[in-house]
């Protein structure tokens, strides 16, 4: 292995630690990304980008024994930047069958359809804070930490997103 390759890939011990840590978090990160970016393809890409960023910064991680919050923050950052940067159409943007109750495929709640439509119009950070707060259970302060912003900013994103959701869901 050349010196350059060693610098990039790191020692084998670090690699084993990284693989173990990432393997235990990958599925959770996928679902986290999925709820922000909505598309499973994009969520997979986010997980891969998270792995890449994490591996490169792994030697400088202060507490390798507790990588969960750190990986979560990277994943949220990639999820937010991904939607913002590409703004591309996502699979499932037209199809809404997945919104139906799997035990009653004929049921398709109007409020879920409304939510889906409005959710896609929110800004990436608004989508992130909505998913993190309402589904993953993070407080506004925790959302701020994950998103790399001040708590007041996270609360502001949440309040604006909530206002838009309420307004748009009413107008139907």
């Amino acid at each position: 292995m050349s010196a350059e390759e060693t610098a990039i890939t790191g020692p084998h011990v670090a690699r084993a630690d990284f693989e173990r840590a990432f393997r235990s978090e990958a599925t959770r990160l996928y679902y986290l990304a999925l709820t922000i970016v909505r598309s499973p393809t994009d969520a997979e890409d986010v997980v891969q980008e998270t792995a890449l960023s994490a591996w490169r910064a792994w030697p400088r991680l202060r507490d390798p024994g507790q990588p969960g919050p750190w990986l979560t923050r990277i994943c949220v950052n990639h999820s937010v930047h991904r939607r913002r940067g590409l703004g591309r159409l996502h699979e499932g943007a037209v199809s809404v069958e997945w919104l139906a109750d799997p035990h009653d495929p004929l049921s398709l709640s109007g409020s879920l359809l409304d939510f889906d439509r409005v959710f896609q119009t929110l800004s990436p950070r608004q989508r992130a804070v909505v998913a993190l707060h309402f589904y993953h259970g993070y407080t506004a302060a925790e959302c701020a930490t994950l998103m790399g912003c001040r708590p007041g900013t996270a609360r502001s994103h949440l309040a604006r997103a909530l206002a838009v959701l309420k307004q748009e869901m009413r107008s139907e």
Binding site: A26, T35, R60, G85, L99, S111
Partner: protein, 244 residues
């Protein structure tokens, strides 16, 4: 729904919505292994992996892609960013990050702060892209220096994105290339706000200087006024340098 739903109703709808989403889109079985394999592979040829015509982590840096396209079109190059491509051009992406990214930026205008390169959280890293022209063209090899560097700013993150030739570029560049080499662009992203200087930001001004050492380390310095792109209406002035 004709009445304004309560916060709790919206929250409940959100929980149902995300629950259905997660339930209907299970994680792929090989997710972790694929991601790990892509991350720890020596050099960054991972973004050239076959079967993914859209190399996502390259595409996520819009500035870098735009710059690459701007190089390719005027000089008749065909940048091949996938392995085994049949196009008669050659492109190699060399990892530039042989050093831990370091540097300092002084921000003023929309943000006033002095930030130092810290733990790289979201950056794509730095790399040198060599592109040779398709035969029978005789244009000299172009070298594109591109990358992202994360700077700490308290709890927030300031992300610098740059792209350009190993030279000093005056920003903004004209609408078309007047000489060999890629144009220079530099952007800042912080707290959801973005600023940019370069070809797509005609109101920007300043200089961007990039060079690369024998060991592959990219040295950059900038003194420019960046035009607001998103989330701000105030220009951002940045001055400083970095290595990555």
């Amino acid at each position: 729904m004709n009445e304004v739903p309560s916060d709790e109703q919206v929250a409940e709808t959100a929980r149902q919505y995300f629950g259905r989403l997660v339930e209907s889109r299970p994680a792929p079985p090989q997710l972790a292994e694929t991601a790990i394999a892509g991350a720890v592979a020596p050099r960054r040829v991972v973004f050239l992996k076959p079967g993914k015509p859209r190399p996502s982590w390259v595409l996520s840096s819009l500035v870098a892609v735009a710059a690459a396209l701007i190089i390719a079109v005027p000089v008749g190059l065909s940048l091949v960013l996938r392995s085994g491509g049949a196009a008669p051009a050659a492109t190699s992406g060399a990892q530039g990050g042989s050093v831990v990214p370091n540097g300092t930026l002084v921000l003023s205008g929309a943000i006033t702060a002095t930030v130092t390169a810290g733990i790289q959280q979201t950056g794509l890293g730095c790399r040198v892209i060599d592109s040779t022209p398709a035969p029978p063209a005789t244009t000299p090899i172009d070298k594109l220096l591109t990358g992202e560097v994360d700077f700490d700013h308290g709890a927030a993150l300031v992300v610098l994105t740059f792209s350009g030739a190993a030279t000093t570029s005056t920003l903004p560049l004209p609408g078309e290339l007047k000489g060999p080499g890629p144009p220079g662009t530099v952007g800042i992203s912080a707290n959801g706000r973005e600023w940019s200087a370069g070809q797509s930001s005609p109101t920007s001004s300043g200089t961007l200087t990039l060079s690369v050492s024998e060991g592959g380390t990219i040295h950059g310095s900038v003194d420019a006024s960046l035009a607001p792109l998103r989330g701000s209406s105030t220009p951002l002035h940045i001055a400083g340098n970095w290595n990555c």
